[in-house]
């Protein structure tokens, strides 16, 4: 706090008026160091719990354990440089590829269904002629407050043939009862949990954007005789594209990182391998297999894939918005 950090001099005051204070220098000195004081806790925590672990993970991913002789005694095991070896084996690992494919299939169901429902419900909440809106808003948002593990427990039991109302109804109707926690239906069962848990939050994001639109926009359209449906399709949806991009973005990231739900459903079925999702694979390698170096390489690959996808999405959405503006 005593010495103002270098470089703060020029930047401070860009936004504020000159001082009318009798002793501006001391106030200025204090104001120069103040931002660093306010940012200090966040910066320290970031270094300790984000930067350091990431750096360590990258370091681990380039190393391996070498065992000398019989591997007995101290110093027999040492960490040596492995180059890209861990990455090569991560990218060719059949379990990792299978888990990535599973998650892509899962995401292809979850993201469109969840965002489609979120958009639909947001539009319905924004319509004057729909009843029960405040009840529905709360009910649909409710799953946000339910932890993923517990959501998986609830749905997991509802998927068990002896408990499930679906199986009960199918049995009454004399129809075959599918095993919801194996093979193809498992994707639907797993997706359903994510859709149930995530629709409410996304709905709120889109609904917030809808409410921020000025009401005059629709008044003109209404006077011109547009129906509510036309207003929704032609005016409302195009105007909330930015928040749709945002929700899309977060949904994809969350999908790539799915862990809690398959992990929780696993004890209820034999249909979920312990490497169902990429994150489960990483966990399994690190803590069950004990190979933290391979696990770190896989984790870094996952992080890079997330970044690549995020930046691609951002670029596409930026290009679209600038195009829209120039038109």
């Amino acid at each position: 706090m005593t010495q103002p950090p270098k470089g703060a001099r020029r930047a401070y005051g860009a936004r504020t008026a000159p001082y009318a204070h009798p002793s501006p220098t001391t106030a200025l000195e204090r104001a120069r160091s103040a931002p660093y004081f306010f940012l200090l806790p966040a910066a320290v925590l970031f270094l300790l719990f984000f930067a350091l672990p990431i750096g360590y993970a990258v370091w681990l991913s380039f190393h391996k354990v070498e065992i000398k002789g019989l591997g007995l005694g101290k110093g027999a095991k040492s960490e040596v440089w492995a180059g890209l070896e861990n990455y090569a084996s991560a990218l060719t690992d059949s379990e990792f590829l299978a888990s990535s494919l599973r998650v892509l299939g899962y995401g292809a169901i979850v993201v469109p269904v969840m965002l489609g429902l979120a958009l639909l419900f947001a539009l319905l909440l924004d319509s004057q002629r729909v009843r029960g809106r405040s009840f529905a808003r709360l009910a649909i948002f409710l799953p946000y407050a339910v932890p993923g593990v517990i959501a998986a427990v609830l749905w997991g039991f509802l998927y068990l043939p002896d408990v499930s109302p679906f199986h009960h109804l199918l049995e009454k109707a004399g129809l075959p009862q599918p095993d919801l926690m194996d093979g193809g239906p498992l994707y639907l069962a797993m997706s359903n949990i994510a859709v149930w848990g995530g629709t409410g939050f996304n709905m709120i994001v889109i609904y917030t954007a809808l409410r921020a639109l000025p009401a005059e926009v629709y008044e003109a359209a209404k006077l011109d005789g547009c129906s509510e449906l036309q207003i929704a399709l032609r005016i409302k949806i195009p105007m909330v594209v930015p928040s749709l991009v945002l929700t899309f973005f977060f949904s994809i990231i969350a999908t790539l990182q799915v862990f809690n739900e398959p992990m929780t459903l696993k004890p209820l079925t034999n249909g979920i391998p312990s490497t169902w999702s990429p994150l489960m694979k990483v966990y399994n390698d690190a803590f069950t297999g004990g190979n933290i170096h391979a696990a770190s390489a896989t984790a870094v690959v996952l992080a890079l894939a997330t970044f690549a996808l995020s930046f691609a999405l951002l670029r596409i959405s930026n290009r679209r918005t600038t195009q829209g503006a120039s038109r």
Binding site: F49, P147, L158, D162, P165, N260, M263
Partner: protein
């Protein structure tokens, strides 16, 4: 801040007075749109289904769970509650207490850190401001597991694994919290007020605590709730860090119980009763708080 008003207020204004000066068309009655209402109600029921089920299922005794119809209430709620409380000397309530501790204390500290950083980013111009903000935001993209494994190893180096601290510390900094903090601070704190405070001779800290914090209050409540839910729902970090089940939060505790249920199905009723009790506090919290706080704030809504 918007949002504190109910959603109907804003829309009601232009709709109520039928625009003066404009020739009136045939009066359009505001009829209920049946199909859209049905769709919305269906969505609401879908979301309530598992919650309704867990309420019913928690009343079922062991043998009723797998034999009676899904939504037929059973007779064993008191027994289930008693069994759950008795299970391993009330370890369930210890998990509940741990969850409250992790989520409550964690969210409180997280809100403070986010408020500091958000205020610092919103009110001051200094070199590295945007860099700091962008670096912080990339944290949102980090898969938790890429952090969790090295965090575990580093905690092990510091001899801190399997402690309350190991679960609490890594969750204090929330990049999304910092982002919200900045947005709220930019919208809620007029620079003139900060300037006026300085002219009156108030120190930077005093300006923050006396002027900014009250203005930021609705935003801070939002950050607190967001972090509370995030930590309450967290599974991966405590799952990796903790070995001693006396320190487990609710999520990890119920998971281990469910896992044991695979060989002892009698535990399933405990899992279900436990799940109900774990869901109730957060739902109650949201029901109470939504009277004076708006969900919209959660997505960073600040403009009116």
């Amino acid at each position: 801040m918007t949002g504190l008003a109910s959603p109907t207020l804003r829309k009601a204004a232009p709709a109520a007075g039928s625009t003066p000066g404009v020739p009136q068309g045939p009066p359009r009655p505001r009829r209920t749109a049946l199909l859209p209402t049905a769709a919305l109600v269906l969505g609401a029921l879908y979301c309530l289904l598992p919650v309704a089920w867990v309420v019913v299922a928690a009343t079922k005794a062991d043998d009723e769970l797998f034999s009676t119809f899904t939504f037929l209430p059973g007779s064993g709620f008191a027994d289930n509650l008693g069994d759950l409380t008795a299970y391993r000397d009330g370890i369930y309530w210890k998990w509940m207490g741990n969850s409250v501790l992790y989520a409550g204390l964690g969210a409180l500290l997280s809100t403070a850190v986010s408020a500091f950083a958000g205020y610092g980013l919103a009110v001051y111009r200094f070199r590295g401001r945007e860099l700091f903000f962008n670096v912080m935001l990339t944290g949102v993209l980090m898969p938790p597991v890429i952090l969790a494994i090295p965090q575990y190893l580093l905690m092990a180096e510091a001899d801190l694994t399997d402690s309350h601290v190991s679960v609490l510390l890594p969750l204090i900094l929330s990049p999304y919290g910092v982002y919200l903090g900045r947005i709220y601070a930019e919208a809620a704190i007029p620079m003139e007020l900060v300037e006026a405070g300085r002219v009156d001779g108030a120190g930077e800290w005093r300006i923050f605590s006396r002027i900014a914090v009250p203005l930021l209050a609705p935003g801070l409540v939002t950050i607190f709730l967001f972090q509370f839910v995030a930590i309450w729902n967290n599974f991966l970090l405590p799952f990796i860090m903790l070995g001693d089940d006396e320190k487990f939060p609710m999520t990890v505790g119920l998971f281990t119980l469910l896992k044991q249920g695979a060989s002892q199905p009698a535990l399933y009723t405990l899992v279900i009763t436990g799940a109900l009790l774990a869901v109730v506090p957060l739902i109650a919290l949201f029901l109470v708080i939504q009277r004076f706080w708006s969900l919209d704030l959660l997505s960073g809504a600040v403009k009116s």
